[in-house]
């Protein structure tokens, strides 16, 4: 069966510090991968998605970036965090072809920027 991991689970960082959040998927190959942000009391905002190694599409311009160095690894980064980057970050994966319509989510990372 497939599983998706995210770490860290929680993170408290000062404004201006760098960020690296990691997501890995097990039990599947060539998944589509997604990063979402969920601000307090709000819905999900799609930040990035990737259909393959090195292929990243950005949905929202901001000071965050994403990379996919391996098939089942997806990293969310920032060089300098802003207060507005606080939120709950969710990674998701989906299959290829007609299976891409269903997304499966990781447990999330709670980021607090102070």
């Amino acid at each position: 069966s497939q599983t998706i991991h995210q770490w860290p689970a929680t993170l408290v960082q000062p404004v201006g510090s760098p960020l690296s959040l990691e997501c890995t998927v097990e039990g599947t190959s060539n998944p589509n991968l997604y990063w979402y942000r969920q601000a307090a009391g709000r819905g999900l905002q799609l930040l990035f998605y990737s259909v393959g190694i090195g292929q990243i599409s950005s949905e929202v311009p901001q000071n965050l970036s994403a990379s996919r160095p391996q098939d089942r690894q997806f990293i969310l980064s920032s060089k300098k965090l802003l207060l507005s980057d606080s939120g709950f970050y969710l990674c998701a994966w989906s299959g290829q072809g007609t299976s891409t319509d269903t997304q499966y989510f990781g447990p999330g990372t709670r980021l607090t920027v102070l």
Binding site: R42, G43, V51, A92, T102
Partner: protein, 115 residues
């Protein structure tokens, strides 16, 4: 273009009474529709999925949803609420575009269950 509207930001029910969470969608093509549940500080869990095989879709934990094309609705129901159903629920519409499905999430409905 696709969109999804969850008509209620909060729904409050008593334990043992029926649950109705409303969702309307807009889609250019035949969409895939989903309901997800999110408990506090957790990821999203798939409740059910519609993909044109049957208009009434049964999901986990006793939930079901009915696809009504004429009303562009996909409401989520459960006959009897449990305390453990208290959570945030998201309706999602997904269309094929550029070779992949890109979902659009509703803003969520918070289900409150009173004892």
């Amino acid at each position: 273009a696709q969109s999804v509207t969850q008509l209620d930001s909060h729904v409050s029910v008593s334990e043992g009474t029926p649950v109705l969470l409303r969702c309307n969608y807009s889609s250019s093509y035949s969409p895939s529709l989903f309901w997800y549940v999110q408990h506090p500080n957790k990821g999203l869990q798939l409740l059910l999925k519609y993909t044109s095989a049957a208009t009434l879709v049964k999901g986990i934990n006793g939930f079901e949803a009915e696809f009504k094309k004429s009303e562009t609705s996909f409401h989520l129901t459960k006959p009897s609420a449990h305390m453990s159903d208290a959570a945030e629920y998201f309706c999602v519409v997904s269309e094929l575009g550029g070779g992949s499905y890109i979902p659009t999430f509703g803003r969520g409905t918070s289900l409150i269950v009173h004892p």
